[in-house]
C-alpha cells in the first residue's frame, strides 16, 4: 500500500487557510468574542446574589417553587465556593456557543428534513464533527482564532452543532404525514406548512435538541479550558494537573449544577413554548390542584420579578460605578468634582485624545463633558468660553483661518503630536513601490486608480493640483473621489485579498496600526510640512486650573500610542469610546500617571511595561512557583502579567502565534522536543534558569533491591510487567521506548503503559498507599519526590541522556519588544534550594494563595528582587 499523505494534505490546507482566509477567521473571531464579551459582561456585572435571584425566579416561573428554591441554593453554593466568576464565564461561553449553534443548526435541520439529498450530505459531516477527538480541532482552533474565548467557542460549536441539526430534522420528519397532507389539501403553501404545522409540532423535539446542544456545549466547555478559555474548565484542568481532587470536584460540581439548571430550564422552556407542551402541563396541573410546591407564577408575574431584580442589579451597578468615581482616592482627587468641557471634531485623533483626557480627568476627580462640533463652531465656542479646551487643532496650516479669527481669544498649549503628514499609501506587500516616483508606469498594477476621500478635503485638492502634476502621474492615474469610510473599506478589502491598492491617507491614522502599510516617500516635498496637532484652550483656562493646564501643556503622544488608541476606539464603535480608552489604558499602565502626574508619584515603569504580558503556565509545581515569582517581581517593576494555565501543546502554538508572550517551564532539549521542533522558527529561547533536571524511572523506596534500571531485569513479576508512563509521544516516552528499555534489555519483559501525567500520578498514589511495588516514569524536579519516598533508578548507561534544562521560551519578537525583560530573564537562575523552598511555601499556603506565598518567600529572600531585575 502506498502511504496516503492525509496528514500532509491537512497541514497544507491549514497553512493555506491561515494565509488566505485569515480575514474570515478574524471576522468570526470578532463576532464570537464580541458576543461572548457582551454576554459575559452582562453576567458578571450584577451582584452574584441578585443574579442568582433572577435565575431562581426564572426557575420558579418555569418549574415551580421547589425548582426556584433549589436553584437559589445551588447557585449560592457555587458562589460560596468562590467559583461564581468562572461559572459565569463558562455560562457565557455555553450561551454564545448555543446561540450560534442554533442559528446554524435549525435552518440546516429544516433543510435536511425537506431534502433527502441534503440529509445524506449533512449526516456524515455531523458524524465527523461529533466523533473527531476534540484535541484535534482544538489546536487548529487556536491557530485560526488564537487562544481564549473564540477558540473555545469554535470547539464547543463544532461539538454541539450536531444534535441541533439532527433533532430539528427528526422533529420535522416525525410530524404526522397525515397532518402535512391535510395542510396541503387545504392549499397551504410549503412555507406556511413549515411554519404553522411542522415547526410547532416539531418544537418539543427541537427543544430536546436545544437541550442537547447546551449539555454538549457544557461538557465541551470544560475541555476547552485547555486552550485558555478559562471558566470552570480552567479550574478542572488545573485541578487535574495537580491531582487536586478537592478543587477538581468543586469545579466539577459547579459544572453539574450549571448543567442541571440549564437542562431543567430548557426542558421546561420547551414545554412553555410549544402549544402542545403548554396544554399537557396545564392539564397535569389541573389534575393536581393548586399546591404550594408546584405553584408557578403566571408569566407576567415572573417577568415582573426578573425585571425588578435586573433593575436592582443594574441600579447597583450604576451606583457601584458612581461610588467608584466618587471614591477616587484622596490624593488622586485633584479635581474635586470640578466641571470641564472638552470640544472635539469627530476625526479619529480628535476623538481619541478627547476621550483619553475625559477618562484621565475623571480618574482625577473632574466631571468632564465631551461635546462634538464642526471645526468652525468649535473655535467659536472656545472663543466664547463655553468650551474649556480642544485637542484637535491642526496648526499652523489647516486651521489657519480659524486661528486668525479667534487666536487672540485662545491659548495654544502647544502640539501634542507633530508627526502629522499627508500621503499616498500602499500595503507593505507591494514591493518596489516606496516613493511617489515609483508610481510612474505602474498604473496597470493599480488599475490606474488612486482611491481618494471626500473630494472637498484639502488633501484631495493638494493631490490633484500639485502632487500628481509634480510627479508626472496625472495622465496615468485617476483619483476616485469617494468618502473616508469607503476608502477604508476598499483598503480593507484589497488588503484581505493581498491585491494592489493605492489610497490617500494621512498620519496619524489607525489604518497604520491595523494594516501593514507603506507611506510613499515624497522626495520633492510637494505635500509640504505637516501640521502639528495642538491643544487649544479658552483664554484664562490655564489660570483657572493650573494643574490641568500643566498636564495639557506637557501632553504628547507617540504615533504608536495614538494609532493603537484610535484602532481600539474604532473597534469599540460609537458609544463605546470611553470603554475603549479604559481598555487601552489597561494595556498602557502608568500612562495616566505620566500624563496627569500627581506629586509623590512612584517611579515610572519602563516603557516596555505598558503592554501586559501573557504568561502561560502548566499546573506543575516548579512552573507555578517560578511563574508566580516572576509575576510578583515584575509587578513591583510596573509590568502587568496575565497568567494563563494551559496544556503543553497549546502553549507552544500560542507562543509561536504571538498570543502568548512567555512560558517559564520549557523542558528542553528532550522532554518537550517535539513541540519545540515544530514551532521553533517562531520562538526564542531565553535561556535556562534551572539545571540540571533529569528524566528517570522511579520506584517507591519500600521496593528494596531496585536502585538502578539494571535491577529491573528479571523483576517483571514484581511490577506486573508494567512501567506506568505518561502521555504517549512525549520526548521522555519515546526515549524510554526506543533507547532505555532496549538498552537495558527490558523491552521484552516490561510493557510501558501510555496514559497521562495525572493518571500516572494517580496510579503512583494508589500503589504507594497500598505499599504495592510500582515503577513510574518520572522527572526531577517533581513534587512527587517530596510527597513520597521514591528511589530514582540509576541510569548507568546514561541512556536517558543528559538532563533537560528548564528554560524560558518566548515568542520570536519578544527580545525586541522587551529588551529589558529579555536581559533579566536571560540572567535569571534559581538554585535547587530556592526552588524547593519556594515550592514548599506555596504548597503550605495552598491553592489560590500563590501570591501570598511568594510574598512571604520573598521576605526570606530579600536579595531576590534585586537579583532578578537589577536596575
Amino acid at each position: 500500500m502506498p502511504r496516503i499523505p492525509l496528514g500532509t494534505w491537512v497541514n497544507d490546507a491549514v497553512d493555506w487557510l491561515l494565509h488566505h482566509v485569515a480575514w474570515l477567521f478574524d471576522f468570526f473571531k470578532a463576532v464570537f468574542t464580541g458576543t461572548y464579551e457582551g454576554i459575559n459582561a452582562v453576567l458578571q456585572a450584577p451582584e452574584p446574589l441578585l443574579l442568582i435571584g433572577i435565575f431562581a425566579v426564572i426557575a420558579f416561573w418555569l418549574r415551580g417553587t421547589v425548582a426556584g428554591v433549589l436553584t437559589f441554593l445551588g447557585f449560592a453554593f457555587i458562589h460560596s465556593m468562590d467559583l461564581w466568576e468562572n461559572a459565569m464565564v463558562t455560562l457565557a461561553l455555553v450561551l454564545v456557543a448555543t446561540i450560534i449553534a442554533l442559528v446554524v443548526s435549525v435552518p440546516v435541520g429544516i433543510w435536511a428534513a425537506r431534502s433527502d439529498r441534503v440529509s445524506g450530505v449533512v449526516r456524515p459531516v455531523l458524524d465527523f464533527m461529533q466523533t473527531l477527538p476534540a484535541m484535534i480541532y482544538l489546536i487548529p482552533a487556536i491557530l485560526f482564532f488564537g487562544t481564549g474565548a473564540s477558540a473555545g467557542i469554535v470547539a464547543t460549536l463544532i461539538f454541539a452543532l450536531a444534535p441541533g441539526v439532527r433533532m430539528t430534522e427528526l422533529g420535522i420528519r416525525q410530524v404526522d404525514k397525515d397532518l402535512v397532507e391535510a395542510a396541503e389539501a387545504f392549499g397551504t403553501t410549503p412555507r406556511n406548512t413549515l411554519l404553522r404545522v411542522q415547526l410547532p409540532l416539531a418544537l418539543p423535539t427541537v427543544m430536546a435538541g436545544v437541550n442537547q446542544v447546551i449539555m454538549l456545549g457544557l461538557s465541551m466547555a470544560a475541555i476547552a479550558g485547555m486552550v485558555g478559555t478559562g471558566g470552570l474548565g480552567g479550574d478542572v484542568n488545573e485541578a487535574i494537573g495537580q491531582l487536586n481532587v478537592g478543587l477538581g470536584s468543586e469545579a466539577g460540581v459547579a459544572i453539574v449544577i450549571l448543567a442541571i439548571y440549564l437542562d431543567r430550564m430548557t426542558n421546561a422552556l420547551g414545554t412553555q413554548v410549544s402549544p402542545l407542551g403548554r396544554r399537557a402541563a396545564a392539564r397535569a396541573r389541573s389534575l393536581q390542584g393548586l399546591k404550594i410546591w408546584s405553584y408557578r407564577p403566571r408569566p407576567a408575574v415572573a417577568v415582573i420579578g426578573v425585571v425588578a431584580l435586573a433593575l436592582v442589579a443594574g441600579g447597583m451597578g450604576v451606583f457601584g460605578s458612581n461610588g467608584g468615581s466618587a471614591a477616587v482616592a484622596g490624593d488622586k482627587n485633584v479635581g474635586q468634582g470640578k466641571k470641564i468641557t472638552i470640544g472635539y471634531i469627530p476625526w479619529d485623533e480628535g476623538v481619541a485624545s478627547t476621550f483619553l483626557w475625559k477618562e484621565i480627568l475623571e480618574q482625577r476627580g473632574y466631571e468632564v463633558e465631551a461635546k462634538q462640533f464642526e471645526a468652525g463652531p468649535l473655535y467659536t465656542s472656545l472663543a466664547q468660553g463655553t468650551v474649556d479646551f480642544q485637542t484637535d487643532a491642526w496648526l499652523p496650516t489647516t486651521h489657519e483661518q480659524y486661528w486668525k479669527k479667534y487666536g487672540d481669544r485662545l491659548e495654544d498649549f502647544g502640539a501634542w503630536y507633530d508627526e502629522t503628514s499627508l500621503e499616498l499609501a500602499v500595503p507593505a506587500y507591494m514591493k518596489d513601490i516606496d516613493s511617489l516616483d515609483d508610481l510612474k508606469g505602474k498604473a496597470d498594477l493599480f488599475g490606474g486608480r488612486i482611491t481618494g476621500i471626500e473630494s472637498s478635503a484639502g488633501i484631495m485638492s493638494l493631490l490633484k493640483n500639485q502632487v500628481m502634476g509634480e510627479y508626472g502621474i496625472d495622465k496615468e492615474y485617476r483619483v476616485v473621489d469617494s468618502s473616508t469610510p469607503a476608502m477604508l473599506a476598499e483598503l480593507k478589502r484589497a488588503y484581505a485579498k493581498q491585491e494592489p491598492v493605492l489610497v490617500t491617507l494621512w498620519s496619524p491614522h489607525w489604518a497604520y496600526s491595523d494594516y501593514d502599510l507603506k507611506k510613499l516617500e515624497d522626495p520633492k516635498g510637494v505635500w509640504g510640512e505637516g501640521d502639528g496637532v495642538h491643544t487649544v484652550a479658552r483664554q484664562g483656562f490655564a489660570d483657572d486650573d493650573p494643574v490641568v493646564g500643566g498636564w495639557l501643556k506637557n501632553f504628547s503622544m507617540t504615533e504608536e500610542q495614538l494609532t493603537s488608541l484610535e484602532a481600539e476606539i474604532n473597534q469599540a464603535g460609537k458609544g463605546g469610546q470611553q470603554d475603549a480608552v479604559r481598555t487601552w489604558l489597561k494595556d498602557h499602565p502608568g500612562l495616566v500617571e505620566k500624563l496627569a502626574p500627581i506629586a509623590a508619584e512612584p517611579a515610572a515603569a519602563p516603557a516596555e511595561a505598558k503592554r501586559p504580558l501573557n504568561v502561560a503556565w502548566f499546573p506543575w509545581d516548579e512552573c507555578i512557583a517560578v511563574t508566580h515569582l516572576w509575576k510578583n517581581v515584575l509587578e513591583q517593576r510596573g509590568y502587568k502579567l496575565n497568567l494563563k494555565q494551559m496544556e503543553v501543546g497549546p502553549v507552544y502554538t500560542g507562543l509561536a502565534g504571538g498570543d502568548l508572550d512567555l512560558n517559564f517551564d520549557a523542558w528542553l532539549p528532550h522532554a518537550q522536543k517535539n513541540y519545540w521542533e515544530k514551532s521553533k522558527d517562531n520562538l526564542t529561547d531565553l535561556g535556562t534558569w534551572y539545571e540540571p533536571t533529569s528524566l528517570e524511572v522511579a520506584v517507591p523506596s519500600y521496593v528494596k533491591d531496585v536502585t538502578s534500571l539494571e535491577d529491573l531485569k528479571g523483576k517483571a513479576d514484581l511490577f506486573d510487567g508494567k512501567i506506568i508512563g505518561i502521555e504517549a509521544g512525549t520526548g521522555q516516552m519515546s526515549l524510554l521506548h526506543n533507547k532505555v528499555l532496549p538498552g537495558y534489555g527490558l523491552d521484552k519483559e516490561y510493557k510501558v503503559v501510555d496514559g497521562s501525567t495525572p493518571a500516572m500520578l494517580a496510579e503512583l498514589k494508589r500503589s504507594y498507599a497500598k505499599k504495592k511495588p510500582v515503577a513510574v516514569v518520572l522527572w526531577s524536579p517533581h513534587w512527587a519526590y517530596s510527597e513520597y519516598e521514591l528511589t530514582k533508578l540509576k541510569d548507568d548507561k546514561k541512556l536517558f541522556g543528559e538532563g533537560n534544562t528548564i528554560r524560558t521560551v518566548a515568542n520570536k519578537k519578544f527580545p525586541e519588544q522587551y529588551p529589558q525583560l529579555t536581559e533579566w530573564i536571560k540572567n535569571f537562575r534559581m538554585s535547587e534550594d530556592e526552588l524547593g523552598s519556594l515550592e514548599s511555601v506555596i504548597k503550605k499556603h495552598g491553592q489560590g494563595h500563590e501570591a501570598d506565598a511568594v510574598t512571604a518567600w520573598l521576605k526570606d529572600h530579600p536579595d531576590m528582587v534585586g537579583r532578578m531585575t537589577p536596575r
Partner: protein, 362 residues
C-alpha cells in the same frame, strides 16, 4: 353552486419511467409485467363523471388504488396521464400556485384518521381552511362556529381535539371541510376508523347534510354496505382499474364480474333493494284488480316483505300515477334474499306451497 367533476383516462404510475409504463398499459400490458420493471401502476385508465350534488363512492380493497385516485382529483398527486376537470377547469393544467388556490377554495378533504392539528383548538381547526384563504379572524371564527354547529358540535369550539371522541373529531374534520364552502368534498375513508354505531350516525348525518348542502362528494370506502348506503353511484375498483360503475342496485343485481359478485355476497340486500329492483315487470299497465295494499318502486325491501306478508297474492307496484308497473310475488322476494333467481323446482312430497306458508307465517 356545485359543479361537475370529470376524470378522464387517469393513470398514476409510481417508480421508474412512468410515461413509458403508461404507454405499455395502454397497449394492454398488465400490472405484474410493469412491476418486474420497477414501476407500480396504482391507477389505470380511470374515467368517470360526478354530477353536481351527487355522492359518488369509490369502493375497493386496500391497494386497489382508490386513495391514489382521490388524491389525483385535488392535485395532491399529479396524474401520470389523463385529465381532471372540475367546473370546466382542467386541474391537471394548473401550476402549484393555481392548484393551491383551487384546493383552498373549491375542493376540501376529510381524512380517514381525521388529521386534526393537535396544536389548534377545535375552532381553529375548523377555521384552518379559511385561515389559509386569508379570511379575517372575526369572520373566520364566525364561519368556523357555523360549520361546527352544522356538524353538531356547538359548544365545543374552545375544546382541543384530544379531548374529543373519535366521532366528534371526525365531525371537526367535516366542519373544517365544510367551512371553506368548497363545492367538491373529497372523503377518504372518512368513517372507517369509527366504531360501527358512530359510523352509522355519521353516515346518517352526511346524508342529512347533503340534502341541504348539495355538494359534489367523492367518497372512498372499502365497506360495500357503506358504499350502498351513501352512494348515488358507486365505482368498484380492483388492482387500479375501475371494474364497474353503477347505482347500488345495478351492482347488486347485475355485478359486472365474479369479483364484484363475490364482493356483494356479504351485503345486506334487504337494505339496498327496493320494490322497483325486484318486481316482475312482465305484468304491467292497468289498474290493480283489488284494493289490497300496494307498493311503490322506491319501497324498501324490508317494507315490501311486510306488505307481502299481509297480502295473500303478489304485491302490486304502482307508479306515481297509480298505474301498475310490476308485481312482486313472495317467492321472488325470497329468491332475492337467497340470491337465487332460478325457477322453482317441483316438490315430490304432498302439500306443496309449504314454503310460501312458512314465509307468510314469518
Amino acid at each position: 353552486m356545485s359543479a361537475r367533476l370529470e376524470a378522464e383516462h387517469l393513470y398514476k404510475v409510481f417508480g421508474r419511467r412512468p410515461d413509458q409504463a403508461v404507454e405499455r398499459l395502454r397497449q394492454g400490458a398488465d400490472r405484474e409485467e410493469l412491476r418486474s420493471d420497477g414501476a407500480t401502476a396504482a391507477v389505470i385508465d380511470a374515467s368517470f363523471t360526478v354530477e353536481p350534488g351527487e355522492i359518488f363512492v369509490v369502493m375497493g380493497l386496500s391497494g386497489s388504488g382508490k386513495s391514489t385516485l382521490l388524491r389525483m382529483l385535488n392535485g395532491l398527486l399529479e396524474p401520470t396521464a389523463g385529465h381532471v376537470r372540475f367546473g370546466g377547469q382542467d386541474l391537471t393544467e394548473l401550476g402549484d400556485q393555481g392548484l393551491r388556490e383551487v384546493r383552498s377554495r373549491k375542493i376540501s378533504m376529510v381524512f380517514q384518521h381525521f388529521a386534526l392539528f393537535p396544536h389548534r383548538s377545535v375552532r381553529d381547526n375548523a377555521g384552518y381552511g379559511l385561515e389559509v384563504q386569508g379570511v379575517p379572524r372575526a369572520e373566520r371564527e364566525r364561519r368556523a362556529d357555523e360549520a361546527l354547529a352544522l356538524c353538531g358540535l356547538a359548544g365545543w369550539e374552545k375544546s382541543w381535539p384530544d379531548e374529543l371522541s373519535g366521532g366528534m373529531q371526525q365531525r371537526v374534520g367535516l366542519a373544517r371541510a365544510l367551512a371553506t364552502d368548497a363545492d367538491l368534498l373529497l372523503m377518504d375513508e372518512s368513517f372507517s376508523a369509527l366504531d360501527p354505531l358512530i359510523r352509522r350516525d355519521m353516515q346518517d348525518q352526511l346524508i342529512e347534510l347533503q340534502k341541504s348542502l348539495k355538494k359534489t362528494i367523492v367518497f372512498i370506502t372499502h365497506d360495500l354496505n357503506e358504499a350502498m348506503r351513501l352512494g348515488d353511484r358507486i365505482a368498484v375498483m380492483r388492482d387500479g382499474r375501475i371494474v364497474q360503475i353503477g347505482t347500488a342496485q345495478d351492482i347488486l343485481i347485475r355485478p359486472a364480474n365474479d369479483y364484484v359478485a363475490s364482493f356483494i355476497q356479504d351485503v345486506d340486500r334487504s337494505r339496498v333493494l327496493t320494490a322497483g329492483a325486484v318486481m316482475d315487470t312482465d305484468v304491467s299497465g292497468g289498474e290493480p284488480q283489488c284494493r289490497c295494499e300496494t307498493a311503490r318502486p322506491a319501497t324498501p325491501f324490508t317494507e315490501l316483505c311486510a306488505i307481502s306478508a299481509r297480502v295473500p297474492h303478489p304485491v302490486s307496484v304502482l307508479d306515481d300515477d297509480g298505474r301498475m308497473v310490476g308485481v312482486v310475488p313472495a317467492r321472488r322476494l325470497i329468491g332475492f334474499l337467497g340470491e337465487e333467481d332460478g325457477d322453482t323446482v317441483a316438490c315430490d312430497a304432498p302439500g306443496d306451497a309449504g314454503s310460501e306458508k312458512v314465509m307468510t307465517r314469518a
